[in-house]
Amino acid sequence: MDTLNYINNGHGLASWLLTKDHKRIALLYLVSITFFFFLGGLFAFMIRLELLTPAGDVLTAENYNKMFTMHGVVMVFFFLIPSIPAVLGNFLIPIMIGAKDLAFPRLNLISWYIYVLGGIFTLVAALSGGVDTGWTFYTPYSTAAANSHVITAALGVFITGFSSILTGLNFIVTIHRMRAPGLTWFRLPLFVWAHYATSLVMILGTPVIAITVLLVAAERVLHMGIFDPALGGDPVLFQHLFWFYSHPAVYIMILPAMGVISEIVQAFARKNVFGYSFIAFSSLAIAIIGFLVWGHHIFVAGQSVYAGMLFSIISYIVAVPSAIKVFNWTATIYRGSISLDSPMLYAFGFLGLFTIGGLTGLFLAAMGLDIHMHDTYFVVAHFHYIMVGGAIMGYLGGLHYWWPKITGKLYSEPAAKLAAGLVFIGFNLTFFPQFLVGYLGMPRRYHMYPPEFQVFNVMSTLGATILSVGYLLPMFYFVHSIFRGKPSPADPWGAKGLEWEVPSPPPTENFAVTPIVTHGTHQYAPSKEVGVV
C-alpha cells in the first residue's frame, strides 16, 4: 500500500460500517444491492423454470405467486431504485462537483442502514413464507383476502422508501450547495443533471407510497375502512395513490441510467455531447411531466374515460424528451473517435433496447390498444426491455466504466466483452418472445397457461439461462480484478471529467484543494464554445 486512499485509509469492519465517507458507503450499497439482485434473479429463474411447461408442475400456484411478487418487490425496491443512485451516484456526485463529501454524510450512512433494515423485513417476509399480492399490492386483495405476509413486506417497502427519500434529499442539497467554484449549472456533467432530476422524483413521489402502504397496513391490521369496498372504501383510490408514486418511480430507475449513458457515450466517442442543454432539460422534463401520467396503468380498471384521455396524452408527451435523448446520443457518436470498450458496448445495448422498450410503452399508452394488452406479457416484455435492457445495461455500463476508478484496478476486457455479448443475446431471447405471446393474449401472473403459448415460453426460459450466465460472469472478473488486476492510472480511458483527475482510487477527501472549474465536462477538442456549451 503505497499511497493513502479511501480504501486503505482505515481497516477493520467498524471502519466500514461506521464510515461517513460517501465512497465507502457507495461500496456498502454495492455489496447489498448485488445480493438483492441475485436474490431477485433467483426468483426470476424459478418463474422461468415453472413457465417451461404449460401445466403448473414445478411450483404450486401459491408458491409461483409468491415468486413473482418477491421478484418484483426485490428487483424494484431493493435493486433497481437504489442501484445507480446509491452506488454510482453516491460515489461520483461529490467528486464530479468538486466536493469533499455529500452535504449530510451521516444521513448518507443512515440511509444505508435504513435500506438494510427494509431489506431485512423483506427477507423475513420471504423466509417466513412470502407474499403473494404482486408487487403492486392491489386492494382489496392485499388487505382483505391475501393470507401471506403482506404487512412484513409492506413495511420493508415503507422503510426503504425513507432510504430513497434521504438519498434524494442529500443529492439535491449537495448539488445546490456544494459545487466547486466555477462549476455553474451548465458545466455540470449530465450524470449530475440526471441525478438531480431523479432526486426530485424521489422526494416528491416516495412519501406518497409510504403513506399508501401505511394505510394498507392500517386497513389490514386494524380493519379500518380505507380501500376495501366492503368497508365502504374505493379500491381504485389505492391504485391512484400507488401509481402516483410508482409511475414516477420508473423514471427513478431510468433517469440515472440515462445519465450514465450520457457520460459513456462522450467518453468513448471522445467528443462532447450533442446538444448538452436539450439532454439536461429533458431529464428535468421527464421527471416533472412523468408525474402526470400515472393513470395509464388503470385505463381498464374503472377509471373515467376522460381522465384516461388526459393521462394518455401526457404519456405521449413525456415520451418526447426520451426521444430527444436517444437522437442526441446517436448524434454524439457521429464523427466521434469511437472505441468499443465494454462500457460502450453496454451503452449501445442500452440505446437499442431502451428504444424498443420505450416505443412499446407507446403501444400501451394508446388507450384502445391497452384494453387488449393490459396485464398481458406484452406489458411484462415492455418493462423488462426498459428496466433490464435499459436500466441494467446502464448500471453495468457505468460499473464497468468507473470500476477502475472505484477499485483502482483494471478488469479483463475480453471477459467483459463476452459478458456484454451474452447479456445482449440472452436478454433478447428472454423477452422478445414475450411481446408475441403477450399480443396473443397470455395474461401475466399466470402459473399455468394454454399449451399453444409454450414455444415462446421455452425460448424465454432458454434466454434467461443465457442471461444468468451473462450476469454471473462479471462477478468473477470483477472480483478477480480486485486481487489480481493491474493497477489503474487516474484516467484509464482517456476520458474527461473531474473524477478522472483524482487518483484511482480517490483519496478520502477527494481533493487536496477545492478545484476551480473553468469549463464543462468532456471537452476533448478546443472550440470557441468551450466553457459556454
Binding site: A61, Y138, P140, Y141, A145, A230, G232, D234, P235, R270, K271, N272, F274, G275, F299, A301, G302, V305, G308, M309, S312, I313, Y316, V320, A323, V326, N328, T330, I333, Y334, R335, G336, S337, I338, T355, L359, A365, A366, M367, G368, L369, D370, I371, D375, Y439, G441, P443, R444, R445, H447, M448, P451, E452, Q454, V455, F456, Y524, A525, S527, E529
Partner: protein
C-alpha cells in the same frame, strides 16, 4: 409437442380489426425507429472507429434546427397515436343501444354468468355472433378482469361497483376467456371458454339447457322475500318512493343535487341506502349489505328496471358507427 402455435390472435369480434390496425401502425413506427437508431449506431461505430490511440472526436456542440426537428416529429407521431387510441377506446367503451345483456359475477376463482332468460353457466359464455352483447359485471370479493383476447376486450371487475364490457362476436368458435387481474392463488385457473354461435344455434342452446328463473322473475321473488314490497308499494302510500318507471330518470336528492337512476345507483340504494337519500323521504331504508349476494343484487336490479320501460335497454347511447353488423342482422327480441 408443439403442434399448435399461433403467432397472431384471431380476429373474432367487430372490434378486433380496429385494435389490430393501431397495433400494426405502432409496429411500423417501432420498427422504423429501432432500425434507424440501431443502424446509425452500428454504421457510426464502424465508420468513425478509433484509428489511433490519441485520436479525439470532432467538437460538435449541437444544432438547434436538428434538435427541434427530432422534437417535433416524434411529437406529431405520438399525437396521431393518442387520437387514434382514444377514438378506439371510446368506441369500445360505449355499448350500443339494444345490446343483449348478460350478467357476470366474478368470484375467487370462477366466472358466474346468467342470461336474461335465466340460463346460467360457470366459466363459460355462450353468445350469438353478429349481435352486440353487453356484460354487466360485478365481483363478490376482490378485483378480477374479464378478458377475451380474440375479441380484444377486457375490463376490470370491481367489488362494490359495476363495470360494463361489450363486444360483437363475428366468427363462430371457441375462444379463451382469462381473468387478467391478479386475484389470488388460482388466478391462472380462473379461465374458461367463450363460445360464439350462429344466432339459430344460440337460440337452440338457450332453450336446450335447464333454464332457471329469469333474473327479473328471481328479482321479483326476492323483492317480496326481502320485504322490499312493504315499503315500496305500487302507489305513493309507501314509506319508500315508488319504483315504477324510475329507471333512467333523474332523482332529486336530499341536501341538493340529482342523480340518474342506473344500475350503480340502484345497487348503492340497496347496499348503502343512506349514501344518497331521495328528497322528501326519511332515510329509513335499512342496508341489505351482507344479506344479498352480488348475483341477487343483479336480479333485484333487473327487476326494478323491468318496472320501467318494458324490455328496453337503458342508456340510449348513440349507435356505434363501427357496428354495421348489428343492423344487418336481425336483432333477436328479448323476452
Amino acid at each position: 409437442m408443439f403442434t399448435n402455435f399461433p403467432f397472431f390472435p384471431q380476429q373474432a369480434s367487430a372490434q378486433a380489426g380496429q385494435v389490430d390496425a393501431i397495433y400494426f401502425f405502432m409496429v411500423a413506427v417501432t420498427a422504423f425507429f429501432s432500425i434507424l437508431i440501431a443502424g446509425l449506431v452500428v454504421y457510426f461505430a464502424f465508420k468513425y472507429r478509433r484509428r489511433h490511440r490519441d485520436e479525439i472526436g470532432h467538437a460538435i456542440h449541437g444544432s438547434l434546427a436538428l434538435e427541434l426537428l427530432w422534437t417535433v416529429i416524434p411529437f406529431f407521431i405520438t399525437m396521431v397515436m393518442f387520437v387514434w387510441g382514444a377514438k378506439v377506446f371510446f368506441d369500445m367503451y360505449r355499448p350500443p343501444a339494444g345490446a343483449m345483456e348478460i350478467h357476470v359475477v366474478g368470484k375467487q376463482w370462477m366466472w358466474k354468468v346468467q342470461h336474461m332468460d335465466g340460463r346460467r353457466e360457470i366459466n363459460e359464455l355462450h353468445v350469438p355472433v353478429g349481435r352486440p352483447v353487453k356484460l354487466i359485471m360485478g365481483s363478490e370479493d376482490v378485483l378480477h378482469s374479464y378478458y377475451i383476447p380474440d375479441f380484444r376486450v377486457k375490463a376490470d371487475v370491481i367489488p362494490g361497483r359495476y363495470n360494463v364490457l361489450w363486444f360483437t362476436a363475428t366468427r363462430p368458435g371457441n375462444y379463451h376467456l382469462f381473468c387478467a387481474e391478479y386475484c389470488g392463488t388460482k388466478h391462472s385457473g380462473m379461465i374458461g371458454t367463450v363460445t360464439a354461435m350462429e344466432p339459430a344455434d344460440f337460440q337452440a342452446w338457450l332453450s336446450g339447457g335447464r333454464a332457471d328463473e329469469s333474473p327479473v322473475a328471481a328479482g321479483e321473488k326476492l323483492f317480496a322475500d326481502l320485504t322490499c314490497n312493504t315499503c315500496h308499494l305500487t302507489d305513493t302510500q309507501g314509506r319508500g318512493p315508488m319504483l315504477t318507471n324510475l329507471f333512467g330518470k333523474q332523482v332529486e336528492l336530499q341536501g341538493g343535487g340529482t342523480v340518474t337512476v342506473d344500475e350503480a345507483y340502484i345497487r348503492e340504494s340497496i347496499v348503502l341506502p343512506q349514501a344518497k337519500v331521495v328528497a322528501g323521504f326519511q332515510p329509513l331504508m335499512p342496508t341489505f349489505q351482507g344479506l344479498v349476494t352480488e348475483e341477487q343484487l343483479l336480479q333485484l336490479i333487473a327487476y326494478v328496471r323491468s318496472l320501467s320501460q318494458q324490455g328496453e335497454a337503458p342508456g340510449a347511447a348513440p349507435q356505434s358507427p363501427t357496428m354495421p353488423q348489428s343492423s344487418s342482422r336481425p336483432v333477436v327480441e328479448k323476452k
